[in-house]
């Protein structure tokens, strides 16, 4: 009998140990996946924050630019820079034939003309002199310099020719290639050229969408939650509403995109591809999340507080506004932020309402066309150029950073303002 009991006890201990082990390995697996994921993103993405520049001497020849002796500012503005830009690239190899000259030109971004112009606008005294100017390297050379380019492929399978590599290596040897922090990644809108593409447009698009979403979803959801929780009678009809709010939270986001397409764009004729429409669509998606969070935190306010207020002669409205709602706010707010974070990462509905369009301007208001960060990831991931690979990861890093900050904020609100019930 006694021995039997001991065996039973041992068995129980062993079962518990096994259970702990399962739990620990589950957590280990989760952490492992997370680490691999983050490592992969960082290792591909970090190089996008650097940009390669070729330092090329430019001769600001007034004659080639068709400028007079003493040009006005407007003249400089209107001058022709293509010729001197071309000349300065060709000068990298004075013996180049026509085909090679063409290749030389393609070593920098098509933007090189304007970079040279900027230089002269900054300092008009350069006219007639020669100065070394920083020119954005083409995306392929950028990748070569970062070591992401397979130089050992046969030439016909590469977008960079042997000739270009030779000139580039010369420049590197002379110290005329430099890597600097990639400001344009944050200040430029999207571009077909990887070396010029940036996230400014999609970042602003995301911000505007989230603001529109917040302004619509938060008041509607909070009012709905307060009414349902504090005022509505509990009957079949309100049960039905509750079930449907929960159902709404489970609707796939693309369905909301179709709704936005069919109602907002087709019926209300709102401007296509804009954060306004995106925000409204996302707010439909966020609404149930906030309602559920707000109701849960209203429910968590102890009934004794309501009774205390009511027994003091407060009306229902006063009880709700003076006590219940302020006490539920931390939970509601952190639920809202989590809902918004979800909306921020949403892609499918935005694609349907046209926020996937190629936008090379930075939106100034929610009525201007824009992309959003997750859609930008989608657009770049579809592009063939090697230069976009690191951009995708970099954009993911920005989005993740954004999300982490939001979730952190939600946590802080919850911890800091949550009342402890004695």
């Amino acid at each position: 009998m006694n021995k039997n009991k001991e065996q039973l006890l041992n068995k129980r201990y062993k079962a518990e140990q096994r259970f702990r082990l399962y739990g620990q390995s589950a957590i280990f697996m989760a952490l492992l996946f997370l680490t691999i994921f983050i490592f992969k993103i960082f290792s591909t993405g970090y190089s996008a924050f650097q940009k390669t520049w070729l330092i090329v001497p430019v001769n600001f020849d007034a004659e080639l630019m068709m400028l007079d002796e003493n040009p006005t500012k407007q003249d400089i503005e209107d001058a022709d820079y293509y010729e001197i830009a071309l000349q300065s690239m060709w000068n990298l190899d004075p013996n180049a034939n026509e085909d090679q000259q063409n290749q030389l030109k393609r070593m920098v971004s098509y933007f090189f003309e304007r970079e040279i112009k900027q230089e002269l606008l900054k300092d008009p005294n350069l006219l007639g002199k020669t100065k070394e100017v920083y020119l954005t390297a083409s995306d392929d050379l950028d990748q070569v310099f970062k070591g992401n380019y397979p130089r050992d492929l046969p030439e016909d399978q590469r977008r960079v020719s042997d000739y270009q590599l030779k000139i580039f290596d010369q420049l590197v040897a002379n110290g005329n290639v430099e890597s600097k922090f990639n400001i344009s990644f944050f200040t430029n809108a999207d571009s077909r050229e990887a070396e010029l593409a940036g996230i400014a447009s999609s970042f602003m698009g995301s911000i505007f969408s989230i603001l529109v979403c917040l302004m619509i979803a938060f008041p509607v959801a909070v009012l709905a939650a307060i009414y349902l929780e504090e005022f509505a009678p509990k009957n079949r009809f309100t049960d039905f509403i509750e079930v449907n709010i929960n159902n709404l939270a489970a609707v796939p986001s693309i369905v909301f995109g179709l709704l936005g397409l069919g109602v907002l764009l087709a019926i209300f004729q709102l401007p296509r591809s804009t954060p306004l429409v995106g925000g409204i669509t996302l707010s439909l998606m966020t609404l149930p999340t906030i309602i559920i969070a707000a109701r849960a935190s209203l429910k968590a306010v102890p009934p004794s507080i309501r009774e205390a207020a009511l027994a003091m002669g407060a009306s229902r409205m006063q009880t709700t506004m003076h006590h219940t709602v302020p006490l539920s706010m931390p939970g509601t707010l952190s639920g809202t932020i989590i809902g918004l974070a979800q909306a921020l990462g949403e892609t499918a509905p935005l694609i349907l309402i046209g926020m996937v369009a190629f936008v090379n301007t930075i939106p100034g208001s929610p009525m201007d066309p824009a992309a959003s960060l997750p859609v930008q990831i989608y657009i770049w991931a579809e592009s063939a150029e090697r230069g976009f690979v690191e951009k995708v990861s970099a954009c993911i890093m920005v989005l993740l950073g954004f999300l982490i900050i939001m979730n952190l904020f939600a946590q802080i609100i919850r911890h800091k303002f949550e009342k402890k019930w004695s």
């Binding site: 205390a308 207020a309 027994a311 003091m312 002669g313 006490l327 009342k419 019930w421 004695s422």
Partner: protein, 251 residues
């Protein structure tokens, strides 16, 4: 003088009847204790007196409850006015998670009793003094009320209840969550408060009922079995059930 007159009060939770035909008179400026085993309906009856049962959707109250000869179950009765006149202290101390000052000033604020900040300060001070809490908290009026001990919290709730100078104070087992010392303090306080207020207290402790009350009503299974002066109920009850309960044979 009779302050509250309940006539044939029935209470239903949905289809289930919780109180049967309760008729009870409550004397002004006296303490009336309601005793009885758990689930006998004494708290339900108490909550009828300030219509707190309205909060429960499925609860319905029938019959007349006259306070100052006015039927509070009448449609014309405004619950906000009613609850201003009839304060309540609950079983578990439930101060608002705000400062002590805000706790006590809340009632006067929503009912517009104080005209100035100075007047409000006075109300807070006298209420806390009457609740025998002033000396302990006068230096920390702007600290949260939830930081007090259980007994202090309950006295804060009493201060909050008397801040609007109610005519009647309902107490629903006010000492059940407190230790004996805090209980003694509250009982002393009840004795003091009855000079200005009519007090109705629901209690599980028969000793407490005997100590603080002048009148006692005994509830059992939703019926008022017997009521009368506390002396009589405890020493010489008419009903056998009362006798059995008092002597601890059930309950």
């Amino acid at each position: 003088m009779i302050k509250i007159k309940a006539k044939d009060v029935d209470v239903f939770y949905g289809k289930k009847q919780a109180l049967f035909n309760i008729s009870l008179d409550i004397e002004e400026n006296q303490v009336t204790a309601l005793i009885g085993p758990s689930g006998c309906g004494k708290s339900t009856f108490l909550r009828c007196l300030n219509r707190m049962n309205d909060v429960i959707d499925i609860c319905s109250v029938k019959g007349e409850i006259l306070i100052n000869d006015f039927n509070i179950n009448d449609k014309s009765c405004d619950v906000v006015r009613l609850r201003e006149k009839i304060g309540m202290v609950f079983q578990k101390p439930n101060p608002f998670p705000k400062t002590l000052y805000e706790n006590v000033s809340y009632g006067p604020t929503i009912h517009g009793i104080a005209q100035s900040k100075q007047e409000m300060d006075e109300i807070v001070e006298t209420s806390l003094k009457k609740a025998a809490l002033w000396e302990e908290v006068k230096d920390r009026l702007h600290e949260p009320g939830t930081g007090l001990s259980g007994g202090q919290q309950q006295r804060l709730c009493i201060a909050r209840a008397i801040s609007v100078r109610p005519e009647v104070i309902l107490m629903d087992e006010p000492c059940s969550a407190l230790d004996p010392i805090a209980t003694a303090q509250i009982e002393e306080l009840i004795d003091e408060l009855k000079k200005e207020h009519t007090i109705i207290i629901v209690t599980h402790s028969m000793a407490q009922a005997a100590r603080v009350s002048q009148n006692t009503g005994f509830f059992h299974l939703g019926q008022l079995i017997e009521h009368g002066s506390t002396d009589k109920i405890f020493k010489n009850p008419d009903n056998k059930k009362t006798q059995d309960y008092i002597t601890g044979r059930f309950g």
